[in-house]
Symmetry: C2
Subunit: 597 residues, 2 copies
């Protein structure tokens, strides 16, 4: 038997008990003949003491122990001497005087230290952490991330089970979609020249489950996307996937809002939800007010439209934007008149990242509006600008003049940066917000063609159906996202269940009957046999847990993530394979081995 108690269990009530403990040597301290060991496991830390006068042989073994050795010790629980208690630990009032000890496994010196839970974590190069992930996971912070992940997902499952949802496993080996350039492919051994692919999401499967009458489906689903690893993406990621029959957008939003509130209140009760029920605004309103389709609503600092006010001004930049059908937007930042030249330059660079040509601004000084562009405006225009933006002495007004989306988006990011500067983005406050009425279509920059913003099964708003033919870009979708402090944490839509409407959408997207059959044949066929009205939503679980844990990237909340170049540094994957294993799949390597990253 390895242990009678875990290392987070013993306290004053156990004084005098004989116990057996096992765990990792965290620290060994030699003090005047006595040796103290902080013994660690997942559950906590217990101090054991070896006294040479009590058992000399045990003491000799104890002397040979180093950090991260795995040991087993037997002894008796006693009070720590006065003044030696550690009130931060559950086990901090007791210690175990050991009779015998056994080294279950020695350990080499780890490449980085496993800090004491109470110590500040040291910075370690991420490559080393990922290579030795099994050591990295021993660190308090990482362990807590994994525990939180377990608890979050358990809470989700209990919630849905309680509401009569069925968790249904959908396949990982599925059929490729012809335009599926982000798909991982899996050659078939049994069918030469044939391939499975790994799903980017269970989208079609969950719709088929609705046709099958399953009514309420959810799944914690692994998804795969072979993207260039910009930013915070992983080749495999986890999604909370939901689909329901006979529901409206409101039903889905209400249910998911209930879940989110439950998760926050249960798992991160120290976080304060700013507003319940969550605000629900349209995509247009979100863009207008916050310059974002996932606004951070922890702070106000809203964007105003000033196109009307400045339409006659002599500032060429504004004039040009307006003449080309664009808009002029303004963002007032309270107290921003104190921004340094350098700060304003940085904000300008940020705006340019989002395609703005620059970032004009006016500061409000005691003497009135000031700055390089003031001279282009009449006094009346300046007065109106100040009153519309409610700018006062000490404030700054930034302008975005461009196509609607660029003007909004660039100012939206400037807004976030100013929110940071002004410390308005408190990590312990959660501001949730539903965004709906997204555009159904968007123009693909590459193909210059209309594509579905979400997927071609997303239902248009009934009111907008008449615009499908002539103004498709104006058609809004019954689609909704849940934003949390400026991150999108979930998104979904009501699907089309009517085949006439589906055909109209395909026509708008210039998808021929033949193409539709080739790409979505199994789904369209299924829809002919009695498809119920249905809709759903999917949550990015990795990101949610990252936010719960105040982490900066999703790798921190995944036990064994790939690095930013899609490599598993611990396993050494991907790797070369023996020729015969590759040949068995009826494929050959097409070019000499060379890293292209």
């Amino acid at each position: 038997m390895y242990r009678t108690h875990t290392l987070g269990q013993l306290n004053e009530k156990n004084i005098g008990e004989k116990v057996t403990l096992s765990g990792w040597v965290h620290r060994r301290r030699d003090h005047g003949g006595l040796i103290f060991i902080d013994l660690r496991d997942r559950y906590g830390m217990t101090q054991i003491v070896s006294d040479p006068t009590h058992n000399a042989e045990t003491h000799a073994t104890t002397e040979s122990m180093r950090s991260e050795f795995v040991i087993k010790a037997e002894g008796t629980v006693r009070m720590r001497p006065d003044g030696m208690e550690n009130i931060k630990l559950v086990t901090g009032k007791i210690e175990v005087l050991i009779d015998t000890v056994e080294i279950l496994n020695p350990a080499k010196t780890p490449p980085f230290e496993i800090e004491h839970p109470e110590e500040k974590e040291r910075e370690v190069n991420e490559e080393i952490r990922l290579t030795y992930r099994y050591l990295d996971l021993r660190r308090e912070r990482m362990k807590n991330n994994i525990v939180m992940r377990h608890k979050t997902i358990k809470c989700m499952r209990d919630f849905f089970d309680n509401k009569q949802f069925l968790e249904i496993e959908t396949p990982i080996l599925v059929k490729g979609t012809p335009e599926g350039s982000r798909e991982y492919i899996v050659p078939s051994r049994l069918y030469p020249a044939h391939f499975y692919v790994l799903p980017q999401s269970p989208q079609q499967m969950k719709q088929l489950l609705m046709v099958a009458g399953m009514d309420r489906y959810f799944q914690i689903a692994r998804c795969f996307r072979d993207e260039d690893q910009r930013g915070d993406r992983q080749p495999e990621f986890t999604q909370l996937d939901i689909e329901m029959s006979f529901v409206t957008e409101k039903d889905i939003m209400d249910l998911n809002e209930e879940l989110m509130i439950k998760l926050v209140e249960t798992l991160v009760p120290h976080k304060k939800i700013l507003k319940k029920p969550f605000p629900r605004i349209t995509w247009k309103e979100a863009m207008d007010r916050f310059g974002s389709d996932k606004p951070d609503m922890r702070f106000n600092m809203e964007i105003c439209d000033v196109t009307e006010i400045v339409k006659s001004c002599s500032f060429q930049v504004f004039q040009n934007a307006i003449k080309s059908g664009g808009v002029v937007k303004a963002l007032k930042v309270e107290g921003g008149a104190s921004f340094s030249r350098k700060e304003i330059d940085e904000l300008t660079e940020l705006a340019k990242v989002y395609e703005a040509k620059g970032l004009a601004y006016i500061t409000v000084e005691k003497e009135g509006p000031s700055g390089a562009i003031v001279k282009y405006f009449e006094k009346k225009e300046l007065d109106e600008l100040l009153s519309t933006t409610e700018a006062k002495n000490g404030d700054i007004i930034f302008f975005g003049a461009d196509r609607y989306e660029i003007a909004c988006t660039a100012l939206g990011y400037v807004r976030l940066a100013c929110g940071d500067k002004m410390k308005l983005r408190n990590k312990d406050t959660y501001a949730f917000c539903w965004i709906n009425e997204f555009p159904l279509f968007e123009y693909s920059k590459e193909t210059k063609q209309l594509t579905a913003s979400h997927h071609p099964f997303t239902s248009p708003l009934p009111d907008d159906r008449s615009m499908l033919k002539n103004s498709p870009e104006k058609v809004r979708a019954i689609a909704y996202d849940l934003a949390m402090n400026g991150s999108e944490v979930a998104g979904g839509s009501i699907r089309i269940h009517n085949s006439a409407l589906q055909s109209e959408i395909f026509d708008t997207l210039k998808i021929s009957k033949q193409d539709a059959e080739r790409r979505f044949g199994h789904l369209l066929r299924a829809f002919q046999f009695g498809a119920p009205p249905h809709g759903g939503i999917a949550w990015g679980i990795d990101r949610l847990i990252m936010l719960f844990q105040d982490e900066k990237n999703i790798r921190e909340v995944i036990a064994f993530p790939k690095d930013q170049k899609a490599k598993d540094l611990m396993l050494g994957a991907p790797s070369e394979l023996p020729d015969d294993q590759i040949a068995e799949m009826h494929i050959k390597i097409a070019q000499p081995q060379k890293e292209i990253l």
Copy 2:
């Protein structure tokens, strides 16, 4: 709004209420002007009635409805007329007289009928069922299988969560093992000539989690095996995967036994567990008594060793077997003297499938032992055979004479067949049994070399370690299986955590240091940093649910299975892919397209 109630909810208490219902038209019956519709959803069935005198327009719509149409109806709940109740349905005392009705979606005639829950299911060709899986899943039996799957897995998760286990997701894109000929491979786009593979199980990952100090891990894990699809296998399957630190074999058996009892008592309470606690026997005892490493213990009919009794008989078959170091085993079947020639021939063929050369037998008649081989025995030998096997008038004794494992196994299968004949294998009785002390190694028929029976990290019994060098085939493992009515439902082992012992095992398996590094490097490296003693087990979830549901193959309990040739008939996977998608992965197709199955 689509519904105020699901179709399994309304009863006498709702009489007089205005309700809105949605669902599928199950049956429409026209009776003297009135139309009755059984409206179906996942939750049940509710009868709605259209009366032309109540609403003529609604009635006209109702007349156009056919099976599997999706409709929405509004109306008022009322009692069914006397004598028209259906006591088998929760909703069987009421019906809903409808005011308005809307066809939400029409349906083509399905390729097979969706039976009424109370009707006997019709046999449908499996290919058609799998092609139209979304219709197949509407059938009561299939729906119940999916519901049971959800409940079973939920129950497992609650159990482990309650015992401080963490569910941890391990990656699906992992590193290939050089001998991994059953692995699906995934070419990397970013690293030409490099591949990920899909895991056959999270074995190494869960051991790494123990090194990481996670202490108690479980996962409902998707696993992949690219096998020739003999029998009841799927390319992807689901495993309940468990690993624990600081535990013994007994700890793991106790815990999993507790879970199994909980599952049965909660989910299939009509099934009777024959013996609690579950019997625990060694592999040797299981082979000796039942001729199987996964004995069906619902019935006795045990095998006896009669080598000593017949060692001097003049029957050449027995003599040859004994002289080559083999054994003679006997299986008495009560009442088996009445087996027809044809039945005995069938049993003989069965024995031959398991490599027996034939199936000698003696029947016991009123006059005494009888049959072709009786003449080769002395009376004393016959008497001893009868007394050892406790054979009485009317019984039959079958013999297996061969190498130990063949003699046992062949009789083991004959035993199962006789159990079926004698109706001793009642599907509503569950006989569980733990088997342990499996051989650590086995000889591979292909390579004529010693291989690990389970995997090379399985710990030997401490007592047997001394035989590693000279009699490795005699070394037993700390490995254990859970058998259920003759099926293996779970299997696991205690792992080696000591590097000296691990080296000894690699030596025995003739795995060089270099090979070990190449194949298991990341694991062996991890073990140097303080690996705790650990062990685990994995359950085959598909099979378990199949047994719970009295199904004959695991495809019946998987929502979207592949067929027996690894095809997804509904999706049409695997499929061809566009050339550029293949080229992007730096691979080429190696031979012209041709089905090899």
